[in-house]
Symmetry: C2
């Protein structure tokens, strides 16, 4: 099992050249993704269609032979499974019914009922585990509770996540109840992904950097620690990658206190200090996604700089954030050449 | 001179209760500001009218007796003095002519000519120095070169500062030339403010967090270090406060390598690690500006938490970012009561 490069790196081994995958590698920059997406109907139709979700997950593996495939799904499927109305407005983003009090949290569906909604996702995982090449690692994922909560409180993406921050200040008990519910649902969701065949799971906390400092421990660290502890007890040996995007000076503390096996670094992290974390973990990242649009010599130079910067310890090459629809598919080949030589 | 609380703190002294001022304290949340602004005409008319700019600077001092007044001006006056066309579109923000190549940098006005545009700002400083109460410290300021460059390259505020990042990758020599020109102009501008009576100067690097890690040293640290060294030689004893907003894990390095006397912390910095920097500097910050909208017990509690978190060393109380137009002027009184008891 530990012959897969990604699993070796997550076990603390330095792998040369580093294994590589890209956040949002199954996405709109690929013509084959756009074709399948059109066939599926809405974005949510695609998420809940196991055959087609598996197909878009496999497309970038066929094209680029990445070292990992990441399940195609969305972090807002968990709120939907808990009872939120959810739809995606083309070109704008998600809209969902809001949860802004403990009373509304109490009216969410119990965690025991989420599988009624999420079963197709587990089926996608099962298909993928059968279809993937033996050297490719299958990564499952979920949103981290804080980031999921920002959407549930705000009902959409919001500048600076102000609605969720306001709820922290005005109604901390209500916000705690919401975080607890999401944490429990996320644990169950990830365990089911693991049972279906996910070999690694990743927690995306895209808005960790928007948490006011004094609340980082309570909402970005503690819920992730609870999830990691539950997974470790129920599914030992499955590594967890944490991605507290924008955590800055809190990255080291996040690592030490959550116990994650891998730490994804955003683009702002300078290898100058990010590499110090490699003594305690496998880091993942952190090329500027803009370079996948620009390409050329700049892409080669900056990719090699990341490889060199993290050469001293376990490293999985990735971007610092998701690849964008504007990226050129040919630039991915150039990137792989820069990394793999 | 060092009897002013702000200067004591910047000299490394622990002051109890901590002195306080708020970023953007002269601003739209105050009815008297809005009245003066209307009288002045455009936002830029106000910036270049010494009597009225001094008046809006003094308004929050009269109302709240803050420990510092900060010159009323805008970080984009420097690009304008260098020859950029600049205007502010109501409700949208600044628009300015772009600079995207070394050839265009070469066509900017020489640094020796900026005072033709900026002289009214120095006059504002002179008026303020005469009018301010003896216990109030006068802070001058400028944008840090990276943040100013993001506007000059993009021609406006831009998501993630992508145009400037793109220029770094595509034309590093051209971008270096732009940073050099801004650095020289900023040094001259701050020196003139000091000659006119500024007792402290602050460099605002609002977009420091958008710099990809490997470029942080070159564009967020090196230009600030050059400015600090020039000011130290020409105007010894005038403290510089750096504000590399979003610097995260780079804050400590910024402090050590720039030599600033004060370090402003954004809201994401947890006193858990931010307080460690107080052994080497006076920190400033870092209450969530949203609390100035919310008010109430939450404001009191969170303000006291910041005071307690930084009680062990030199600290100037401030927000983690500017006060917003939605803030309630009465909440500032509540804040001061929480801090001063």
């Amino acid at each position: 099992m530990a012959e897969k490069a990604i699993l070796k790196a997550l076990a603390g081994e330095r792998v040369d050249p580093p294994p590589v995958w890209l956040m949002r590698q199954a996405g709109r920059y690929l013509p084959e993704y756009r074709a399948t997406r059109e066939k599926a109907g809405s974005f949510l139709d695609l998420c809940y269609n196991p055959e087609l979700a598996a197909e878009v997950t496999l497309q970038p593996i066929r094209r680029y032979a990445f070292d990992a495939a990441i399940l195609f799904a969305d972090i807002l499927l968990v709120p939907q499974a808990l009872g939120a109305d959810l739809r995606f407005v083309e070109g704008e983003g998600p809209r969902l019914s809001t949860v802004t009090s403990a009373a509304e949290v109490a009216r969410l569906r119990p965690v025991g009922e989420i599988d009624a909604t999420l079963a197709p996702v587990y089926e996608t995982v099962r298909i993928l585990r059968q279809e993937l090449p033996p050297e490719t690692t299958l990564i499952g994922f979920a949103g981290a509770p804080w980031t999921v909560a920002t959407y549930m409180v705000g009902g959409r993406g919001t500048p600076d996540q102000a609605p969720a921050r306001e709820m922290i200040y005005r109604d901390p008990a209500g916000f705690d109840a919401l975080i607890d519910r999401i944490t429990e649902a996320t644990t169950a969701y990830l365990l089911a992904q693991i049972e279906a065949g996910a070999e690694v799971v990743k927690l995306f906390d895209s808005w960790a950097g928007a948490l006011p400092g004094p609340w980082f421990e309570r909402y970005a660290i503690a819920p992730v620690r609870r999830i990691v502890e539950s997974l470790r007890a129920a599914a030992p040996g499955v590594p967890v990658i944490g991605f507290p995007r924008g955590a800055g000076g809190n990255y080291a503390r996040f690592l030490d206190e959550t116990g994650v096996e891998g730490l994804a670094l955003d683009t702002s992290v300078d290898p100058y200090w990010g590499a110090r974390l490699q003594a305690r973990t496998c880091v993942q990242g952190n090329l500027d996604p803009l370079l996948m649009v620009i390409g050329g010599e700049a892409l080669t130079r900056e990719a090699k700089r990341i490889v060199d910067g993290f050469r001293g310890g376990p490293h999985i090459f990735n971007l610092g954030h998701g690849i964008t629809p504007q990226a050129d598919p040919d630039h991915v080949h150039r990137l792989l050449e820069a990394i793999r030589g």
